[in-house]
Every structure is written in structure tokens, then in C-alpha cells.
Amino acid sequence: MSRPARSIMALTALALAAGVHGQQPPAAKDRVTADFEKFRAVLEEDNPAELFEAKGEELWKAKRGPKKASLAETCDLGMGVGVVKGAYVRTPRYYPDVDRVMDIERRIVHCMVTYQGFSEKELAKKPFSSLDRTPDPVSLVTYVAGGSRGMKIAVPQKHPKEREAYAIGAEIFAVRAGPWDFSCTTCHGEDGKRIRTQNLPNLATHDGSLKAYQGWPGYRMTGGVMHTLQWRMNDCFRQQRFPEPGYVSDSITALLAYLGATANGHVYKGPGIKR
């Protein structure tokens, strides 16, 4: 192809692209996004999530539960008993003691049940934060996540069960069902889209999935409460008009393995602060 012909084609492509964008008023979108980003840094610099990290640290070290044991002395998050540093960015992962893949919250709940004697049923009853209450696993997850700040995300994909969790998670991400025909992909499968003024990361991409992995655990400005990825997945399924996923269930672990491994290599800067 001659150079002029090629450049005409390029111009046409550009014009077409511009035409598509012309469907939406780009000015409004750009201004909103730019303004949000300008103040994101301010919000991130002093993130109330730190208050929950402090609470989580206290809980991690305290002797608690019917067995009066501390997680710091009993719980292996994958890096050795009591080791918090770097554990978060390496989950979900395969744990040989239970022969299954667990995400961080599931592992913490497992430790609370196994070593401290808490009831899993009780923990699963009201697992998410409200204005009146922050469940202990939420603070613990926040503390453990803070222990990986500045480290590279390295969700392992060596064990066959880790690879299986990833593959199933990728499929759960795409399941279209419910009265509104939604899947995760409906909102999170394209770049540069918004719901209302909320930017939607494309979670199927390396950069996009970081937003999920880094955003949660996160301090949610709506309500001023701390939430984890367990909550985020639960509330996404609610808005997908699906039935409710089980707390710390295989499905959520699989989904998180997919999202986490997709973000592998990025530096983790959470816990987050979210709208």
C-alpha cells in the first residue's frame, strides 16, 4: 500500500473513532474523571482504612476465642505461622493443610475457627460491615493487606488447584444469568465505561484487575465503613440480580484467584479508599 493511501485509511479510522466517541459528550466525562482523580490523591494520603488496620493488628495479636489463642501464634497465611508481611499479595493460594485454595479472608476465618474456636456459622451470619459494626475478619483482612503495601502482587499459579481456581473464576466472571441477563463482564469487560459517574475498570485486563485487587479491602466513603473483596463480590452479585453467593465459598475464591492473578506483577498500594 502506498503511503498516501495508508494515511487516508488512518484518517478514516480516526474519523470513525471520533464518530463513535461523538455519541457521548466527552467533555463531561473527562471533566468528571479528571476532577475525581485530582482529589483521589488527597483522599488516599489520609485513608481511614488505617484505623481498621490498627484494630486488625490488635485482633491478630490478642489471645481470643474459646481456645484463647492468638492468630499471631497459630495462623499460617502461607508465609509461615504468624507471618503477615507479603502474605496478602500471594493470595488466593493453595494451602496443603486443607488441600484447597483459599482467599485471604477465607484463610483468616479458617484460622479463627480452627485455632481460636470461633463458630464458622456465627462468623458467616453477618460477615459484612455496617454503620454499627465492623466484623473482626474485616479488620484482620485490612491489617494483613497493609502488611503487603508496596509489594508486587504474586498470586501463585503453580499448583493444579490454583490453576483450576483461576480457570473456573474466569468462567464465573462470564456467566450471564438472572432476570437482567448480567454477568461480571456486562459492566467490567470493556475499557473506559462508567455507571453514572463511577468509572468501571475492565477487570479482565492486567491494569483493570488491579483496581479490584487494590481497591479492596477499602474504606468506602458511602457509609464510612471498611469492606473487603468478599463484600465487593457479594454486592456485585446482588446488583447482577443473582441469588446470594456463600461467604468465603469456593465460587468467590475462584473469582478472586482469577482477578488476583490477572493483576500479578503490579505493585500493591492498598488498602484502598473507594466511593
Binding site: D35, K38, F39, R40, V42, T197, Q198, M221, G223
Partner: protein, 156 residues
């Protein structure tokens, strides 16, 4: 209680009376140690009433009072606002949200080297001006900036 407290704090023989009150369990120490809280100003339902109650009626507009706040808030529950006064001798800063039911959000006094500057986060029910009053040398100066509050998220 408020009345009693004010009386105690202002009275010449306050310390003696205070000791008695404390001993009698009438007052919790925290209450006594706390500074006054300007009930009239914080309870005012309009900007003029609030300004009057903080002793800053009819402030002069000034470019030397700066507000940093978003044009559009990502979330009205947490609007980051930063305020600086470059007016020499500023001792007090008040922050108001015009359209909140109770406009006066906070007030600060600065001494012993503190710069007349504060960063804080505010709740805003709807799009409104954020108004800042700086007091210096017995005079009041004001500036305002509009912050838009919109619906975000899925709304479900």
C-alpha cells in the same frame, strides 16, 4: 448542665465550685476540660445566623482566603476541603456549607505558631457553596467555592 458548666467556668471561684461539683459527681471531667462549644452558631439554620453567632456578620470578600475543594465531589459523604488564610494575623477560621441544614461545619482557632490552615472532610447533602470565614484583627474575610454533589454508583 450547659448553664451550670458555663457558670462554673466563668465564675471567679470556679476552681472551688468545680472541685465540689466533681466530688459530687455532677460533672464528668471531660466535660469540664472541654472548651466551649458555640451552640448558637452550630445550631443556626441559615448562613447569616451562623455568621452572626460566630461574630462575623457581613465579612469582606477576600482572595487571600483560599479554598481547595473539588468542583464535583466523588462522594458527598466525604468532601475533602483544604483552607488557607494568607491574611496576616488570622486567628480563626470557620467553614460553612451553605445548603446543609446546619451550615456551620467547624471552626478553629490558631495560636503559638499554628498556621491559619486546615484540611478536613465534610458531608454535603447536595450541591452547595463551601464558605470560609477568616478572622484577623477583629475583622472578617470570606471566600466561597461551589462543590457539585451528584448521584454516583449503581443506585441499586
Amino acid at each position: 448542665m450547659d448553664h451550670l458548666r458555663r457558670m462554673l467556668l466563668k465564675g471567679a471561684g470556679a476552681s472551688g465550685a468545680l472541685a465540689v461539683a466533681l466530688a459530687a459527681g455532677l460533672l464528668r471531667p471531660s466535660r469540664v476540660l472541654a472548651a466551649e462549644w458555640n451552640k448558637a452558631a452550630f445550631g443556626a439554620a441559615s448562613v447569616p445566623d451562623a455568621l452572626k453567632a460566630v461574630g462575623a456578620s457581613g465579612p469582606a470578600d477576600s482572595k487571600d482566603v483560599a479554598i481547595k475543594a473539588p468542583d464535583i465531589a466523588e462522594n458527598g459523604a466525604v468532601v475533602p476541603v483544604e483552607v488557607d488564610s494568607r491574611i496576616p494575623g488570622t486567628t480563626e477560621i470557620a467553614v460553612l456549607v451553605d445548603k446543609n441544614p446546619l451550615p456551620l461545619a467547624a471552626s478553629f482557632t490558631f495560636s503559638n505558631g499554628a498556621l491559619p490552615s486546615v484540611a478536613l472532610r465534610l458531608k454535603m447533602g447536595k450541591t452547595s457553596n463551601v464558605r470560609v470565614i477568616a478572622k484577623a484583627g477583629g475583622k472578617s474575610y470570606a471566600t466561597a467555592k461551589e462543590v457539585k454533589v451528584t448521584i454516583g454508583g449503581c443506585g441499586g
